[in-house]
Subunit: 644 residues, 2 copies
């Protein structure tokens, strides 16, 4: 088989690639992150790349667009004439037939996302699973030749009342050396008062743990002192599985269709986490082996792909997970390069689509300790909801599709530099102002040629503002009688210009189309209908609190979200964003083992409502497609300036 | 650094060896087994080799004795003139300085030992730790989307009353596939009703386990059905650690003196066990992964070296082990290539020199269920003893040295083909008859030129017969007034010819020297004195039972052993050999988990008596050096034909 040189820019990664490999496959082989929402099915059009022509002496290659396979019909459907003229190709469609220098434009790069998973300043009461116990032992003599482990256990009983904890294999290996090096004073790190994980010579005061939140898009790690609970470092990474498919279903499909898919996709996240671990410990002046405990959350698919469980059953009805209850697996079994005796505590799962991330939100928000009827919405690719109070909790999952994250939207993109994240439309002039991620001011002169697309919060703002300004009606249809050049027809369908060509880096206008509005309606309709069914099931008429969770949730303008009708009416003062509550939940579980038990109990108590089985769902969904709703009243919304 | 070709014969192993490497090191690098009792200290003289001169076209080398470093003073002390003339060298002293073809004579090869670890036909009541539980589950629907693990656990509770067993990581990974492949009928392999180790599609009836006995010299594996208890296969290997030192102390020294010593010596036994596992399962038509449970015994040093614990503290006073209690370690953590979820149960340890092998003997012999006062002697490089009955058990370890195994004896050797294993001396003529391992008959015509040395049981026979025939007196001194050419002087000291030069393969006579008799006296004196101290401690005057355990024990002639005075007087009808009782103990622990608890309890109850602390030891030892004893009476021995 022939092999050709492929060089990716701007990363500079290069390698010899077998003839006929797609550019997307080549990017994975070389560790280059290219967006691929559909997982290489040639349907999303997100993996745009182009070839630089010329002889590149520094690489010793001659690159030419003809060194890719011919332009395909699928690319014709997804790429504009303009793009085609500029030599843009889809990485999943074009195969390598010669030496190529491949340019990955910023909007196709996966590595550039703004990581929105800061740890909140939540106060967490401290009761870690792993604690340090310093002891001094009487040293052995011929009259008292008791073995090292029994000697240690006797001292732990005498000094701390610990009842004969077991000892993990790596700790047993370290024990004789540590006792003698420490001159019979050692510090034992013990998990749940049950298992000795490590024995250090002398007195050691600090132990560290890591809370991990594996999102479909972003992976975050929070390094904490287990003695003080203090956050010692935070580090985030793009989830490298993104290159195998943007959403959960695409990744499950990838695993199903590739014999080595599970191994690859799991290898990618483990490698990413080990890299994150090296960085977050290194920045704190620590070693990876200083991490003695890990608590981890993620949705059910991320959970399965991390553990290495075939996710296949999650992709087909009835969507059963392999396990609900929390897991404690040795880091060494999982391949995580922390202390080999560390346990990885993975929070429990409620159901196939209500995962350990939602359980994390649950123990962070504790609706089960409140009287108020609270709706928690975790907005992401799927919308997971928990409704209830101290008496009862219900959960559901809504297939919102990725529109609310900016995907499946003509100019949608992730929350990355260049994304429009806020939009306001003047009621009178219908002029648009917007804010771009990475550009501090709203003033137009700062944003010339910088916009690349619209991210999730911008999409919600945009459709809500189109409605507020009377540009679309309650059913989402564009009005056609408005005197503004921004409202225009494209291929016979109306669209509204958010950014003019001279305000974008694309060389064309960024618009919101009728199709985009429909996608948002479908997504928000699913959320709203889900919330209504949960309310009916609990027999309640109104919400007393709404909590918007998820890294993305904290960037949503709550008023715009309610104008759009993402959730039923609620006093806006009682609608709040809590940031990355799933990550908070992981930190809480790391620092307080009672909360692990609470999570286990609550995950079992939360009832899961399968929305697709409810016969009213279709009707609720149809009514909820309207903006904000066909019939429901929103007494807490400010009146519209005009009647749509 | 220069490298030379080294070829070992008869194994044919070859490789490029750096200049200056000793022949012994080279043999280890190439996996050739050469005897080395002293571990390369140039003191035992067992690693004799010679160089073949000539040009060997098939190997492309020219070999010459001068291609080794010059003859050393240490070799001069240990090799006879005759041997030196024949070009014999010590592998530990000679270094490689050019291409060599090295001949390893049979008596220096470690791979030839007769493995004397057959499983006994002991009846074992069956209650294995790992049992199979077949269940059929209701399959999941949207109305009942319970996760796989919870579904399995519910069925196990309903059908077998099992209380929510946990699940090991490999089993969790296999679970979703097994359930679907088995169409919701699966068989779970569960350990101690606590942990699901494996889940197989459909109904599976057979599960297998392996009992392992790691001796200093021989490793034995017993493959058993966990359903019927039946022995499905037996396989033995030389312990490859022999190349790092013949006895426990030499191996501990090797680890202390080499930074990578522990890793190497542990790697050798793991590799050996994995090879044994492949063979024993293959011969039974099974796969290594069919082994779901392992029970293992070995002396404390073998235990530590197998687990990977630094054995250093075992080599220096007060000889404390790292751990007494039994261990359950995952096979995957230990690197054993069986089912990855299998647990390796390692029996507990009594003390530094009374190991898991002795605990194996204990649960096989059960002296704690008897009224008779029983002495169990495990004869090996060390002599471990347990004395007691249902009321109390005491243990001790005697530093016998390896004389009783045939080492540190001029013509001593292991129990290998060519070894003299039985000796009788005619009271009148003082003529000798003997039996050689590998030669069926006692008749002289079958043994011409076949004797290579004397193994342990032959040494005991020899010294006892010298005493019975009046050739040595009670103090072990040779008489000088006997009219037989067999009694002769060598370098001014008397020796007795067992085999004439034309009866040996050595080209010289095999003799028992005054020094050899002294070595045996020291060894048996230590055993006897130990037994006496244990008896005093328990306040008893006479033994009611004596059990000779150990692979070697079963080959000892019990009458000759008592004539020699290896243990105090006892009715010979109540002296028995039990073969490899340690291996039986491993099988018992494999097949009956109640016996594991019993072992744990008994190992804690057995008191260890440190003989070196007892002030009467020296006096007892001195008296016990006499044959059979200076003062003790042996009413159960037949009277001697004459007064020595």
């Amino acid at each position: 088989m022939k092999r050709y040189q492929a060089i990716f820019q701007p990363s500079g990664r290069r390698g010899e690639i077998p003839e006929g490999t797609t550019v997307l496959e080549a990017s994975r082989l070389l560790g280059v992150g290219i967006e691929s929402v559909c997982g290489g099915k040639k349907t999303c059009g997100k993996c745009r790349i182009r070839i630089d022509s010329g002889t590149f002496d520094q690489y010793g290659i001659h690159s030419h667009p003809d060194h890719l396979s011919p332009f395909t019909g699928e690319e014709g459907k997804l790429l504009g004439e303009n793009e085609r003229a500029q030599g843009v190709r889809l990485a999943c469609a074009a195969t390598i037939q010669g030496d190529v220098l491949i340019v990955v434009p910023e909007e196709s790069q996966t590595g550039k996302q703004v990581v929105r998973k800061e740890a909140s300043e939540k106060k967490i009461s401290l009761n870690p699973a792993v604690r340090l116990f310093p002891v001094t032992l009487p040293f052995p003599t011929l009259n008292d030749p008791l073995g090292d482990y029994e000697r240690l256990v006797a001292a732990l009983l005498e000094r701390f009342g610990l009842q004969r904890p077991g000892i993990d294999y790596p700790a047993l290996l370290a024990l004789p050396g540590a006792l003698r090096k420490g001159n019979w004073t050692v510090t034992a790190a013990i998990w749940m008062e049950r298992e000795i994980l490590a024995v250090f010579p002398g007195e050691v005061e600090e132990a560290y743990g890591l809370a991990i939140d594996i999102g479909s898009t972003t992976v975050a790690g929070y390094l904490c002192s287990l003695r003080t609970g203090k956050l010692v470092g935070t580090e985030s990474r793009m989830n490298p599985q993104v290159t195998y498919g943007d959403d959960v279903i695409a990744r499950i499909t990838y695993v199903m269709e590739h014999p080595d898919g599970l191994e690859k996709i799991r290898g990618a996240i483990i490698e990413c986490l080990n890299d994150l671990i090296r960085t977050v410990t290194g920045n704190a002046g620590l070693f990876p082996s200083d991490i003695l405990d890990i608590a981890l959350v993620g949705n059910t698919a991320m959970h399965h792909l991390f553990v290495g469980i075939d996710p296949h059953p999650l992709g087909i009805s009835p969507f059963t997970p392999a396990v609900h209850r929390s897991l404690d697996i040795k880091a060494r079994d999982l391949g995580l390069a922390v202390h080999p005796a560390a346990n990885v505590h993975i929070l429990p799962i409620v159901a196939g689509f209500v995962g350990a991330d939602n359980v994390g939100v649950l123990i962070a928000e504790e609706p089960y300790r409140r009287d108020e009827m609270t709706l928690i919405i975790d907005v992401g690719t799927n919308g997971e909801m928990i409704l209830g109070n101290r008496k009862k909790l219900l959960s559901a999952s809504c297939a919102t599709g990725p529109a609310l994250e900016g995907a499946h939207i003509r100019f949608g993109m992730r929350a990355a530099p260049g994304a429009i994240e806020r939009i306001r439309i003047d009621r009178e002039t219908l002029e648009v102002s917007f804010k771009i991620i990475g550009v501090e001011r709203w003033r137009p002169e700062f944003r010339i040629k910088s916009a690349l697309g619209i991210c999730g919060s911008g999409v919600i703002d945009g459709v809500a503002e189109l409605y507020r300004a009377g540009i679309i009606d309650q059913s989402g249809r564009f009005r056609t009688d408005l005197a503004t050049p921004r409202l225009r027809m494209a291929e016979g369908k109306p669209e509204f210009v958010i950014a003019w060509p001279d305000e974008t880096a694309l060389g064309e206008a960024i618009t919101i189309s009728q199709q985009d509005v429909r996608s948002v309606q479908l997504a928000k309709g699913a959320l709203y209908a889900g919330a209504k069914l949960l309310m009916k099931e609990l027999g309640i008429e109104k919400l007393e609190r709404v909590v918007l969770a998820g890294a993305f949730g904290s960037y949503i303008d709550k008023t715009e979200a309610m104008i759009l009708g993402m959730f039923p009416d609620c006093n806006l003062d009682h609608v709040s964003s809590v940031g990355n509550a799933a990550g908070d939940g992981a930190r809480i579980a790391l620092l307080n083992c009672d909360k692990r038990l609470e999570a286990e109990e609550m995950a079992r108590q939360v009832e899961y409502l399968e929305l697709t089985l409810a016969k009213e769902f279709q009707q609720e969904f149809t009514s909820a497609l309207f903006i904000p709703h066909m019939t429901d009243a929103f007494p807490h919304l400010p009146p519209l300036d005009h009647k749509n």
